[in-house]
Symmetry: C2
Subunit: 336 residues, 2 copies
Amino acid sequence: MSATIKDVANEAGLSVATVSRVLNNSANVSEEAAEKVNQAIEKLGYSPNFLGRNLRKRETNVILVLMPTSEHSFYMKIVAGIQSFAQPRGYDIICASSNSTSEIEVRQMNMLFNRTVDGVILLGTSYDAETLNKLSKTYNIALCCEGVENAEVLTVVVDDEQAAYDAVKELIRLGHRRIGFVGANDSSASSCNRRQGYMRALGEFLGEVSEELMYIESFEYDCGARALDYFMGLDEPPTAVFCVSDLLAIAVIHKAHDLGLKVGEDISVMGFDNISMCEMMLPTVSTVEQPCGKLGEVVVRKLISNIGASTGAKDNGYYTVPHRVILRDSTGYVKK
Amino acid sequence: MSATIKDVANEAGLSVATVSRVLNNSANVSEEAAEKVNQAIEKLGYSPNFLGRNLRKRETNVILVLMPTSEHSFYMKIVAGIQSFAQPRGYDIICASSNSTSEIEVRQMNMLFNRTVDGVILLGTSYDAETLNKLSKTYNIALCCEGVENAEVLTVVVDDEQAAYDAVKELIRLGHRRIGFVGANDSSASSCNRRQGYMRALGEFLGEVSEELMYIESFEYDCGARALDYFMGLDEPPTAVFCVSDLLAIAVIHKAHDLGLKVGEDISVMGFDNISMCEMMLPTVSTVEQPCGKLGEVVVRKLISNIGASTGAKDNGYYTVPHRVILRDSTGYVKK
DNA sequence: GTGAAAGCGCTAACAC
DNA sequence: GTGTTAGCGCTTTCAC
């Protein structure tokens, strides 16, 4: 049906080897021959079949990015960062979303196992450390945004503990003394580390950490409303809330509005990630910026280097990139 | 390095043909043989190389979804719809974003040309009708969300003209008589069609359409603010604004807030798409819902059918799925 | 029920 | 500078 390299060779009156050379810009091919080949390609509308090429070369130059959910524009920003680095270096980036379903994740990981892609970047995973360590021996895998405890796999993240500490410190600077925490289950390393940072800041500056000010459920949007309901039901509700994601912060803000609270005055809310929605919201949302572009760039740079390296020489390090606290309208000085 | 089907055959003491049969669950293989093969697979940690398989079978069972931008969570919802239909039918879905750059789009389309994927769904494209028609003869292509005028390519969209008409009709029902339109350049078929619907509603119910109430720029977020600035500079500003996207509507709402206007009272704003942000915003955003799941499901169903069909029997039809106007807090009765 | 062998489209020795 | 040819890993006809 569609033309092959052989057809091109016949059409040009040359051998497939020469056609292949032209296709790959290798040296040792006369101008004349190249011209003939290009004409034949044009005439036949030929496009090389990469299945053949990839099979032969044992590489695809494609990297797969797996996201737990596609709702977060945050993830797509990282993908953009990955792409901007990888594309000029000859790698195509494709992505897929597992909807936080481990079954789908496994299925998509098959693209790695069956050699459809050269490597995978996981922006969150349901694999445990042991499995990841085993897979990492045979395949090129990297974690980004969300690490896995004890996994000796290339990982690039922000320093979640320190970032949360910095964020909560800002709230304390604004005069807040009762600060709530909205987190996901501790099976998420990032949520867990952020909780540690929150607790360290409270311990260091206020001297005490109260269990009742921590609401732990999941990253789901709806949890934000439930968290605020819970907090407002306390004898002494918090005057500020630190959330492990912007989405949760936005849910809290929405709920606060429904309860008649003025966000930034009656209650301060801080998120995490700096998704684009933070600037679109009314009020705008204070948050901790994760440098998405940088995260993507760093992780794919190291992954590509691993792909090119011999098995023994792989970089399975744990790297952090700098974060930044951004204050907007959703946080303010504590009400006297 | 990694095991091949030959290694498995040797290990099992059988031929590669038998191993292949086991791999593909074909009939005519004894229990005993299957057992041996599975043991060998287990022992060697074998995973079939799909480059070989796909080359041989001349199909990959992968469909590529190309998005113009990854910022819209809207697109990812469509991908989810596509995936939910395709996955159970043996197709993997991968996606890539061109950042509205035709150069990147072309590069990504290479995955179609070089047989890395069986088909492509374009959620917006910079290709013109002529090119699409030509490509569509050789390859399996579908358009979703955003059609291309005169393209005889499988297309699944909402009826943009009618949807805009319905939305504007609602604004008129709320008493609005001066209604602004914020659109993208008419090179976008959807924006163009929505403008037609806006004009039809105005013509039909109010008798006149005023050029000065149409602000046409692009889908970029920043255009929303400029549009409102423009409108408020008019001698008689509109009391309601219909935007061709929710993102633009949110930008308008944000700007209105900055100008001290109360959205839903002083000015009504209607968007288009029903992205998840509409419900998160304060105020919540009235909009036209595009049934993302349905769009994705329908387009991939027809595309898969085309992939399986002979060249002549392809469905290049134009299909619409039903839309729905959703009124929320950003629209209200006109202020007396 | 099983195996031998051809060949999918391509690249890369190797020979000339 | 060009051509011949062996295979990359797999499926599938055709014998048996």
